[in-house]
Symmetry: C2
Subunit: 464 residues, 2 copies
């Protein structure tokens, strides 16, 4: 049974202390979703406290959504998730997805800082949309989304990524996860999908949930390993060529052409190009997308406003190759667009009135400042000689090798993990991978503020 010490409750009363202990264990993953909590009576007996104290702690946890109760059965740990791009490894069952807000410092979640969301402009645009578009707001949009937004996305992609596409190629959906599901329906449940190893483990989970076959393909320094890809029976390669998550590898131009050539060799081969954080490449030349150099219509490009605007605006899009349009519309025209008209019209205005570009520029400066300050603080830290930083140029995270005798698993189970949320590179590898590198942290600074940096350094120092 769970046991907590009541010797050091600080100024907290007993039930609050117990509530905090359980909450921390839920947030740290020690108590995973679905775990049954001990019965009030036996728990009270075990801890040497009154049943009422346990009852109050449970009630508090329930009202805050950490646990739920089933009549006559007891209390269970609620699922507490973050729609984070940085899902933990499926390879390590101990590593639970946890709610970022439970930590002092969160270097895993890609949740955006609320202060950075352009609330007043967004509110103004919603107001304008409601007052000027009442009829359009009530009209059923085409399954691919409202035309204004699709036109605005075309212009944006032309300006930012030099991509030449037409609005009917743009398909709007409520998040990339939804679009992946739609793509499986389009490309086929009988196809085999290739994902990156290490990589974004949520992808593999989505393929698992849809009961389709997938292969984890290793990377070399230039991107996905072409020989391994060819040797697998995969039809569809799902990759992040602009900035691989989490290693930061940028797929080289020659590897890009090799991937395109791989796709061209067979009829049913496609590449899903996930361009999830290309807006935030902080240094170096922007790299052309695979989509823009693809001559054979083999690339399906996916991107999202969830990363660039807010993790809680569920709006993503994919760009289909033209020869797939007829099949897509014929088979899926009956689906309703999953994003409400209110958000589609608001975002269309946000894009076409130039606010998005301003927002991205502002955010890029903000992230550059945070990154530079964080790197500087790390280099000046007492543990500077024990770390090595790499892949700090692109996107919103970097890697840090650390000099420690702890295994990654031990490291992630230290007490300090209650205060600072960390992920190891090893968590992004699939279970069966022969040599999984240890002692490299993946530090995501998208939610970090300048004020938090000294705290983060202090916590890292205690850890190392």
């Amino acid at each position: 049974m769970l046991t907590y010490s009541f010797t050091d409750t600080g100024s907290d009363c007993l039930y609050i202390h117990l509530y905090k202990c359980i909450k921390n264990d839920i947030l740290s993953g020690k108590l995973p979703a679905g775990t049954k909590l001990p019965s009030k009576r036996s728990f009270a007996k075990n801890l040497g406290i009154s049943t009422i104290t346990v009852e109050n702690a449970y009630a508090q946890l329930q009202s805050e959504g950490y646990v739920y109760s089933l009549p006559k059965k007891g209390f269970y740990v609620m699922e507490i998730t973050t729609p984070s791009a940085t899902a933990p490894a499926v390879s390590s069952d101990n590593f639970q997805i946890t709610r970022p807000s439970g930590y002092q410092i969160d270097l895993v979640s890609n949740q955006t800082n609320p202060d950075n969301f352009p609330f007043s402009i967004w509110a103004k645009l919603i107001r304008e949309t409601i007052s000027e578009k009442s009829e359009e707001l009530m009209a059923a949009p085409p399954c691919g989304g409202i035309m204004e937004l699709r036109y605005a996305i075309c212009s944006h992609l032309k300006a930012f990524r030099n991509m030449d596409i037409t609005p009917e190629q743009v398909i709007i959906g409520a998040g990339t996860e939804y679009l992946y599901g739609l793509l499986i329906q389009l490309l086929g449940f009988d196809k085999a999908y290739a994902v990156e190893n290490p990589g974004y483990q949520k992808l593999a989970k989505i393929y698992e949930c849809h009961q389709v076959c997938y292969h984890a393909i290793p990377l070399d320094h230039y991107g996905m390993d072409i020989d391994a890809l060819e040797a697998s029976c995969a039809n569809i390669a799902h990759i992040t060529p602009s900035h691989h998550y989490p290693t930061g590898i940028v797929t080289s131009i020659s590897r890009r052409y090799e991937l395109l050539a791989w796709a061209s060799r067979k009829k049913n081969r496609y590449i899903i190009e996930d361009d999830y954080d290309s807006e935030f490449r902080l240094s170096g030349q922007p790299i052309p997308t695979l989509q823009s150099i693809d001559q054979s219509e083999k690339v399906i490009y996916i991107n999202t406003f969830t990363k660039s605007l807010s993790s809680t605006v569920r709006l993503s899009y994919m760009i289909l190759p033209k020869h797939l349009l007829e099949e897509f519309y014929r088979r899926f025209h009956f689906y309703s667009c999953t994003v409400s008209n209110f958000e589609q019209y608001t975002l269309a205005r946000f894009l076409s009135d130039g606010y998005f570009e301003k927002h991205i520029n502002r955010m890029r400066t903000h992230y550059k400042n945070v990154r530079d300050a964080f790197l500087h603080a790390l280099q000046k830290s007492p543990f500077a000689s024990h770390i090595k930083i790499h892949e700090e140029d692109a996107g919103l995270h970097f890697l840090m090798d650390i000099d420690t005798s702890m295994t990654d698993s031990e490291l992630l189970q230290t007490d300090i993990q209650h205060s600072i949320h960390l992920a190891c590179l090893s968590q992004y590898y699939f279970k069966a991978t022969p040599e999984i590198p240890e002692h490299t942290l993946v530090l995501n600074y998208s939610g970090l503020t300048l004020e938090q940096i000294p705290v983060a350094i202090d916590l890292l120092n205690r850890l190392l």
Copy 2:
């Protein structure tokens, strides 16, 4: 090749006339999505007009989103859909889903009238949400949706449907179509699904898109035929017991218990209860949901705000039986909720501040007035002796038998179909059904206004 007459262009210039002709054919389904339009030059030659005229007409169609162009290939008809609950039959390939706005009168679409949406209240609640909830709006919600909304839905279901459920049973999603997909992932791609015949054909399409096996089960007067259901190998029965679409049959209480008994007999059997328009039962006693009389946790209840609030607010929910919660959260906790926080918080307020109840009451009165006026006008019409109305008590549509020598297929291809959008009961049957009844119209009056009734009667009169 397409041919249009230019003898009666009215006051329209040539290109506008051509644009209207093509638009009408797209809207009526004569030119289905994906159809290639003739090349400008050959079309011009064929019609005896200039290439510029064709070019202008195509440009107009393209700018309005009716067609799209592929470079060096030509112009194609865009998919134009309505997220209507009243999807046309898969059994009749000629019957295209068309955009309701193209008709003078639309008796097929369930699109709501913009005048009925509570814009000012909704705008006020969005404003309040943005100003008071900036932090919560940016926080990642649990995969099932924000707790406030799930609590509010529990209270609503308790008050309206006397259902006792807990918030963790409520799963929010961007439309019922998305939730069906999630349910297939939960219940299994290897299961066989039973749908109603006649029935809501979109369901069958969704099962087809997910490549799962489904059976079309006939109905008798009391609901889904139990013997046929038992004889099929179906594990999951997907039904609309409160008000069958489109026949209006209300599943009898004894059939409800038979269905529950059917589900209890095997471990993997479940019932999906789609309660899509229960808020709008206009007469008679409300019927308890299957979910509320289910003792064996075999019912998954689904409902939507898309029908009761607006067809463009993409927000639906399902109520999972408690014993499925552990599996659901364990397998799917990594999924992000597909509805943006903005809409979730706004709707939570709309529900808990009592606006939804007021809105439903207002709409019920409105629909009752429209229905009564429409029925009255039909009974006073010149063709009153040629029609028979039934199932007019519940929901937002009724059936009307008509006395005509035309087949349904002929009827739906008459010119009058350019002006009035009608559906026949036969369109809701699956292809292989032995005896499909003809000469019954399904009249959906949810988008009809009192002012439109004389026009509708006039158009029906010309048809009959």
